[in-house]
């Protein structure tokens, strides 16, 4: 009697209960009318350094799922979100992807933010036949069979931005970025574009990731006196960069600066008063005037609080869920290969306007906009491009 340990007892009784329960559960599903829900993985950093940017994406994705479920789900099945925390750590992203695909058996994953996290996930996707919707603007140079890229790649935003800047007065450019793959690739695209338009790059500087001392770079900018600063500084460094620019007398009224990174979400942390007058180039701005967008912003605010702001990555995250749903409905299947095949050419009336998945390259064609930051942290849209086709492998 005393030989039976507590663990052993739990094992025996546990398996008895399970054995009793499973047939009952099977009966229950068969007799109920609704089909079993389909699982969708949401994989972002909820903790760690990148959570600053990434946590809000999960909220937008959950909202899209709620909307779809309220309208009857996808192929008659409710979507059941499975949230996983990548913890700003690339091996964790790979580990969680494996878990989502093999243990939770999700139909697809919407997730990742930094390129490093996406690269870490790719081999797992290939091995376990997963499908990832990647909702962040990024540097291009990639076209994976298992990934749908739902935001703008670098050529779409950088070339539009440089062309627009060169049309304004002045053609000298100073490129500032974080020392990371996105800024360096953007500048690789920016430089020949500037040259093609007859402009001149008068400086190119990179600050280490997380850098908070921009005084030396600001002095270099002062010495070079560029007409435009093109900034790809990422993350918390932006707060320091904008504050220090303003303190050094180069505020948005005196110095023209355009960033392809700073959305409404970043301005929240930078401080409205520090960002006023600077430009940003994005696919989506909260201030876009369209019925779709007004509905979208209203829904976000109703769900997550009136003072919430919506930035480009949040909107792309929201679109991703819908693009997956439409592909599944077109394929009439949750099978990854069929969904990928059906994705080609799919169009969605997003809050930013129509976005369409390219026939072959897994990216989306969309419009690009340039906004100027106002005192209330929102953007006045000063430029809107036509629909731009994605070109992840540009010839420069």
């Amino acid at each position: 009697m005393s030989k039976i340990s507590r663990r052993r007892f739990m094992q025996i009784s546990g398996s008895l209960v399970a054995a009793g329960a499973i047939p009952g559960a099977g009966l229950l599903t068969k007799s109920s009318f609704a089909a079993e829900p389909i699982k969708l993985g949401l994989l972002h950093s909820l903790t760690g350094t990148i959570a600053i940017a990434e946590a809000a994406l999960v909220e937008a994705e959950k909202m899209a799922i709620d909307e779809i479920n309220a309208a009857g789900g996808v192929l008659g099945r409710m979507i059941d979100p499975v949230v996983a925390d990548g913890a700003s750590d690339w091996p964790t992203f790979a580990e969680k992807t494996k878990q989502l695909l093999q243990r939770d058996k999700v139909a697809a994953i919407v997730g990742c933010y930094t390129s490093a996290s996406r690269k870490a996930v790719l081999p797992v996707l290939k091995q376990s036949k997963g499908l990832l919707y990647y909702p962040t603007y990024y540097e291009g140079q990639e076209e994976d069979k298992q990934v749908i890229y739902t935001s703008q790649e670098a050529t779409q935003s950088v070339i539009s931005a440089i062309e627009w800047m060169a049309k304004q007065q002045g053609k000298t450019f100073f490129l500032v970025g974080s020392d990371y793959i996105y800024p360096r690739t953007c500048n690789k695209i920016a430089k020949p574009t500037v040259a093609r338009l007859g402009g001149k790059v008068v400086g190119e500087e990179y600050a280490p990731l997380g850098h908070t001392e921009f005084s030396s770079i600001i002095n270099k900018i002062k010495a070079a006196k560029p007409d435009w600063i093109y900034s790809t500084v990422v993350g918390g460094s932006n707060v320091a960069f904008y504050k220090q620019l303003k303190a050094a007398g180069l505020d948005g009224g005196k110095q023209k600066l355009l960033s392809t990174v700073v959305s409404e979400n970043e301005i929240d942390g930078i401080g409205k008063e520090n960002a006023v007058g600077y430009y940003a180039c994005m696919g989506y701005f909260q201030s876009i005037k369209s019925p779709e967008n007004e509905k979208f912003v209203k829904a976000i605010k109703a769900k997550y609080g009136q003072d919430r702001v919506v930035g480009d990555p949040m909107e792309c995250a929201y679109n991703s869920v819908y693009l997956w749903k439409m592909a599944v409905e077109k394929a009439k299947s949750f099978d990854v290969d069929k969904v990928v095949a059906a994705s080609s050419g799919i169009q969605f009336n997003a809050p930013e306007g129509k976005v369409a998945i390219h026939k072959t390259n897994h990216h989306v064609s969309k419009k690009i906009r340039i906004g100027r930051a106002r005192t209330d942290g929102q953007f006045d849209i000063v430029f809107e491009s036509g629909v731009i086709e994605p070109n992840p492998f540009p010839k420069l």
């Binding site: 903790t47 001392e213 005084s215 030396s216 770079i217 918390g236 707060v239 942390g269 008063e273």
Partner: protein
Amino acid sequence: MPTTSIKEAIVTFGILVMQLFNGLSLFTILLLMALGLAIVFGLMGVINMAHGEIMAMGAYTTYLTASFFERHLPGLMDVYLFVAILLAFCVTFAFGYLLERGFIRWFYHRPLDTLLATWGLSLILQQTYRSVFGAQEVSVPLTAWLSGAWEPTESIQLPLNRIFIVALTILVTLGVWLILHKTRWGLRARAVTQNRAMSSAVGIDTNRVDALIFALGSGLAGIAGSVFTMVGSTNPGTGQLYIVDSFIVVVFGGVASLLGTAASSFLIAQMQTTLEYLMSGSMAKVAILLLVITVLYFRPNGLFASKVRA
């Protein structure tokens, strides 16, 4: 032609002055960052990995104070910073005191365990900030009279907030030096550092001294966190950005030496700003780390070594 070259010379001179000022500014920022750590590390031999998070606590206190003033006392926004700095000091001082009494003191004579325990504490604090304030950055408004720059000539702009930090750091450093070297309490603290058993034998309450040293170190971190909201960002991970630099300064300067901390932050700051201007930010970091490694190879106790309690 001559007029343009004169103009260029003026601009170059302006940049030179601003670069020197940048070095000075970074020097005071590093010093303020490392001061609290140096005291705790130097006098008590405790490696506090949560020092950065205590700075973040000061930053969040400043944020809360600013929000309170914005909402209830908008007329006094001009002076909120002084209240915030004071509050940040009080809050972190109290936190440091409680932390030492309830946590750190069980880890004396176990330096490696302290390292691990305070690191764990830093993770707990980070997650607490994230749960309370959210993962996003919070924006701390800059007092009106501190935004903008002082322009002695047309080509020289010295940001007012950095001038403020320089002045404040000088005051704080002077204050710490006076406390440690000109008061009875400072005398006791130094006595305990040199010989704990003997100090205890002559009637000094060493437990109390330990707690107050740790509280003072934390309070200094709070002040640093509070003023850095003017130049940097405030988010749950803010502390991590500062902790590495703080440790480099303290280790390079030699523990238990205020002079060493000051000298090392001066050297690192000037090197960082100069090299960053001549090369790039990343290369400047590489050069500084190489210098630190070389110096520590030949002088393992840092530039200004003195005996520390084992």
